[in-house]
């Protein structure tokens, strides 16, 4: 249990740093560290496939997207923080949510403990992936649709800009 506690504390600390550091590059590297810690937690919980997914998708692809955005934006420092009122309000809201969830957590945990039958391991049952392959296809189709929509929007904007330039001349 001690390794779980150490990794969880490390992960939460790194995620807090990623949201609080003013230097965006450092914030993104803290996010990567938190994702690596979360991946180690997933491995300890007995889900090596999800640990690999976590490393590939979040510590890899999403981080690259963040880095590209910062590079394009050329804005490496966060501007002024939000007003004190908003910060205090959000801290109060967050604290009250934590208290509310912790008050109801025994109910949630009892619900979690109940089912002990029908344990299926994803490694022991590879047919799970085959039977539910439509989920994978659905995700891929969604990603392709999003990418296509983004590209078409970008191209449309470029064309619009070119037309504006031609009109200006």
């Amino acid at each position: 249990m001690i390794e779980h506690v150490v990794l969880a504390v490390l992960m939460v600390g790194l995620f807090i740093l990623s949201t609080e550091l003013r230097n965006l590059l450092k914030a993104i590297f803290s996010f990567v560290g938190g994702n690596i810690a979360l991946s180690a937690i997933l491995y300890l919980l007995g889900t090596p496939l999800l640990a690999i997914f976590q490393l590939l998708i979040y510590a890899g692809a999403v981080t690259i997207l963040f880095l590209v955005t910062i590079h394009v934006g050329e804005e490496t420092e966060e501007d002024d923080m939000a007003s004190t009122k908003i910060r205090i309000l959000s801290i109060v809201l967050a604290f009250s949510l934590v208290v509310m969830f912790l008050m109801y957590s025994p109910v949630i945990v009892e619900g979690v403990k109940a089912p002990q039958l029908g344990i299926t391991s994803i490694e022991e049952h590879p047919e799970f992936l085959w039977v539910n392959r439509w989920l994978d296809l659905l995700i891929q189709a969604f990603i392709i649709l999003v990418v296509a929509a983004s590209i078409s929007v970008q191209l449309g904007k470029e064309k619009h800009r070119e037309r504006e330039e031609v009109k200006g001349e």
Binding site: M1, H4, A8, V12, F15, S18, T19, L24, A27, I28, F31, G34, N35, L38, I41, L44, L45, G46, T47, L50, F53, I57, Y58, V62, L65, F66, V68, T69, I70, V72, G73, E75, E78, D79, M81, A82, S90, I91, L93, A94, L97, F101, L102, S105, V109, V112, Q116, I119, T120, S121, I122, H125, F128, N132, L135, I139, F142, V146, V147, S150
Partner: protein, 106 residues
């Protein structure tokens, strides 16, 4: 405190941290980071609800694993879309500060 309670608390902390970031930050990149932290908290909660302790070792239900895999893919797509919107906003307004997006205000 057993493993369920511990990881549920951690996931709740992550969700609340993401919510706090969404509310209190003005930088678009920080807001997307907060959204991703919230997604990770939800993923951890789903995994925790599927954990079974059998003979001292942990096993996670296959359905929970499938749900989290789908959630990860969708989270990455959402991040890509949000960051592309952030880039477009930067091209128009030359800033990531949401307070300065005056044209959308009423």
């Amino acid at each position: 405190m057993n493993v369920y309670e511990f990881y549920l608390c951690i996931s709740i902390i992550l969700i609340v941290l993401g919510l706090y970031t969404l509310i209190s930050k003005r930088n678009l990149i920080k807001i997307v980071l907060g959204l991703e932290v919230m997604t990770l908290g939800v993923n951890l909660a789903i995994i925790t609800m599927g954990v079974r302790v059998i003979g001292g070792t942990y096993e996670v239900d296959a359905f929970a694993q499938g749900m989290v895999a789908i959630s990860m893919a969708i989270g990455a797509a959402v991040a890509a879309l949000a960051l592309s919107i952030a880039m477009n906003i930067y091209r128009h307004y030359k800033t990531f500060d949401v307070k300065k997006l005056r044209r959308l205000r009423w």
